[in-house]
């Protein structure tokens, strides 16, 4: 923009007419025009706005989980059990054992004096409502951890491959190819089964397994982004002034290349949660009774002959998981259009 102000006549009114003089807000100034366009894409289409609203609702549920479903006992992630009967109980049946405290909203919303199983109980009398509410926290936790770790691994490997090129690039990218050949869910399943005897039943085995087989996409994206940036003038200038490779890579190239990857990655949370729920559904990962959506759904596996009677053990947790993933996918879909290189320059 500074160029525009220096005109031969000292008068820039003519230029002001030909160039747009729209105001540049603080956000655009901080993140730069390209990245600003990406952020604006987040709230452009009705679909992505619905997606943002869905995500926002889930964030609220996660934050206010202790108010929505007050924990019973010391570990809030353990779903409270109302007895040990196998058969699921219908929504609205009274809660007899391990009753949680009654939160302030309860009477006004439900018109009831005592806790009941709002969405019914799953096999073993685990309260489904509680599992869904606290499962939201589990979902964000797993999604966040896996996305951060996979992006970190992907960015490190991808940028090293792109920056050094040649044999280094070849070796790293062939390893990436080999990891990509393997089917994701099956490998995550296998690796968590191998890790479970070593680490015990917890969140860790599925998380590590999903990280180990989830970084390849990010490595590829960041590699191609860096390849296009590495020949820019300011990188050559940094090289000419004798900076060390590491400093050029991490201070000059990465900050300019990483933003699209970060946006895409944060939208990957939906897929991660989907994968994690699938693993729990298959009986891998957390101990029985841990509040996570896949586990609540896995109880339904033993009741398939009478699912028409016990529909609530599938429908409520299933719809929750689907809405969560859909929120991220709606935003992600809008993002893909914005990040598509053919769309550059159109806003």
């Amino acid at each position: 923009m500074t160029e525009n102000n220096i005109s031969p006549t000292g008068d820039n009114r003519l230029l002001a007419e030909t160039h747009s003089t729209r105001k540049i807000g603080w956000l655009e100034r901080t993140v730069g025009p390209d990245n600003y366009r990406i952020l604006k894409g987040l709230v452009k289409t009705p679909a992505s706005i619905i997606g943002m609203i869905l995500i926002f609702i889930f964030i609220l549920i996660a934050i206010f989980a202790p108010v929505i479903a007050p924990p019973v006992g010391n570990d809030p992630y353990k779903m409270p059990r109302d007895g040990f009967v196998g058969e699921p109980k219908a929504p609205g049946s009274p809660w007899k054992r391990n009753v949680p405290e009654i939160p302030f909203w309860y009477k006004t919303v439900t018109g009831n004096e005592k806790w009941e199983h709002l969405l019914g109980t799953a096999q073993g009398q685990y309260d489904i409502f509680y599992g869904i509410v606290w499962g939201t926290r589990t979902a964000f936790k797993t999604g966040f951890i896996v996305v951060v770790a996979t992006v970190l691994i992907g960015v490190i490997l991808g940028s090293i491959a792109a920056y050094y090129g040649g044999a280094v690039d070849n070796v790293i990218m062939r390893i990436t190819d080999i990891f990509m050949t393997l089917p994701y869910i099956m490998m995550a399943l296998i690796f968590s089964a191998v890790l479970t005897p070593i680490l015990g039943r917890s969140l860790l085995p599925p998380l590590i397994a999903m990280i180990a087989f989830g970084w390849m996409g990010y490595a590829r994206i960041i590699r191609s982004d860096i390849l296009s940036i590495k020949e820019r003038d300011y990188v050559l200038a940094a090289k000419a002034s004798g900076l060390k490779n590491g400093r050029i890579l991490f201070k000059h190239i990465l900050p300019n290349a990483i933003f699209p990857t970060l946006v895409l990655a944060s939208l990957g949370i939906g897929d991660v949660v989907l994968g994690f729920a699938a693993l729990s559904f298959l009986g891998i990962g957390t101990e029985v009774g841990y509040a996570d959506w896949g586990q609540v759904l896995s109880f339904a596996r033993n009741w398939i002959t009478s699912l028409d009677k016990y529909w609530y053990i599938v429908v409520y947790p299933g719809v929750t998981l689907t809405l969560f993933v859909m929120g991220w996918n709606l935003v992600g879909d809008a993002m893909r259009d914005v990040l598509d290189p053919r769309m550059r320059g159109k806003s």
């Binding site: 050949t181 005897p197 699938a278």
Partner: protein, 354 residues
């Protein structure tokens, strides 16, 4: 072309070594007792037996030496028999299935192929048809509906969709059932009245002209077929639609319209064939994925294929079995990817020249 095929073939051993190294690396995380299950059926009971096994099979040697022994097996000095050795088809003994892993694969893989065989057609045809329709009617109702569907479809977890299908078509209506076959069919096979030519139940039923058996097999397979198609349609619609939109903008489509061809011919003869290249790539990947084992779908519908076997073994922490199955699926994937790539090079000359 020959050049391309040779280059592509040279990649196969590299991939195979890579995949086996990854899987063997996982195995090395375990202690020698678990690893000894590769060679012996009974778990060692006391310290002395464990030490004997470690010495006998070199379970304390260096990583690469053990990797070699794992690939090549160990010759028993007493009997002179080879034990273990995945190169010789010995993947160890599966505790959960109470049979050698190889026999488990032989029993289960035909079922996975059977399911894949009947899924391919509905998966491809409907997905592509809807994608083309959406692109041709861009921004009209059917396009909006197809786009909405492709987002909802990719968000619908396979197992939730599967459970809902079970709830409706099995528990409520009783039209179809989970599993692989009814009791009377398994009795028929057991008594040898149904000759097994291919071990694919549907094909065998047709070859034996037993249409009742065929119908029974279909009633068990329709729910997984619906689920797999539904899940894959979403991606096919998306890819076909965007590729078709791209093609409709090309000059030769404009030319075809300008010379006065019917709109149907423009779309079906000029645009659609050219828009199919990315769809073919996707289709190759999806079919390969179906063969590699569909863990979740097979588990939900209790369908005894490779995927269900892996899920069962994983849930019971039977490491030898799952790693054996992983090597098998990995090999199947690498080989079928090879075929897909070569077929693709035939269709699209740009691939083999690159």
């Amino acid at each position: 072309m020959t050049n391309y095929i040779i280059r592509r073939l040279l990649l196969v051993p590299v991939l195979l070594i890579g995949v086996t190294l990854i899987i063997f690396g996982m195995l090395q995380l375990l202690g020698p007792v678990e690893r000894s299950a590769l060679y012996v059926r009974d778990f060692p009971k006391n310290e002395k037996q464990i030490e004997g096994l470690i010495r006998k099979y070199g379970l304390d040697k260096s990583f690469f030496e053990q990797y070699w022994r794992w690939l090549n097996g160990v010759i028993d000095p007493g009997s002179g028999e080879r034990q273990g050795g995945i190169l010789y088809g010995d993947f160890g003994y599966s505790r959960t299935a109470s049979q050698p892993v190889v026999d488990l694969v032989k029993e289960r893989f035909p079922n996975t192929v059977d399911l894949a065989l009947w899924t391919v057609y509905p998966m491809l045809s409907v997905g592509v048809w809807l994608g083309v329709k959406a692109a041709v009617n861009q921004n009209k109702f059917i396009d909006q509906a197809a786009r909405m569907y492709s987002i909802i479809g990719t968000s619908f977890p396979t197992f939730v969709f599967g459970l809902l299908i079970l709830m409706l078509l099995y528990a409520k209506l009783g039209w179809f059932m989970p599993g692989k076959m009814s009791d009377w069919v398994s009795k028929l096979i057991f008594s040898g009245q149904l000759k097994q030519y291919t071990h694919l139940l549907t094909i065998d039923a047709l070859l034996n002209l037993r249409f009742d058996v065929f119908w029974d097999a279909m009633r068990h397979m329709i729910m997984p077929i619906i689920t797999l198609s539904y899940i894959n349609w979403a991606t096919f619609v998306r890819v076909t639609r965007s590729s078709m939109l791209e093609t409709l903008r090309q000059d030769y489509v404009v030319t075809a319209r300008a010379k006065g061809l019917k709109e149907n011919d423009v779309i079906n003869k000029h645009a659609r064939p050219n828009a199919m290249l990315p769809v073919v790539t996707m289709a190759g990947g999806s079919i390969v994925g179906l063969l590699g084992g569909v863990v979740i779908t097979e588990t939900v519908f209790n369908y005894p294929g490779i995927g269900k076997a892996s899920a069962d073994a994983a849930a019971n922490l039977d490491v030898v079995t799952i790693l054996g199955l992983a090597i098998f699926s990995g090999t199947i994937l690498i080989l079928s990817n090879l075929i897909v790539d070569i077929v693709y090079a035939f269709i699209d000359p740009r691939v083999r020249l690159a």
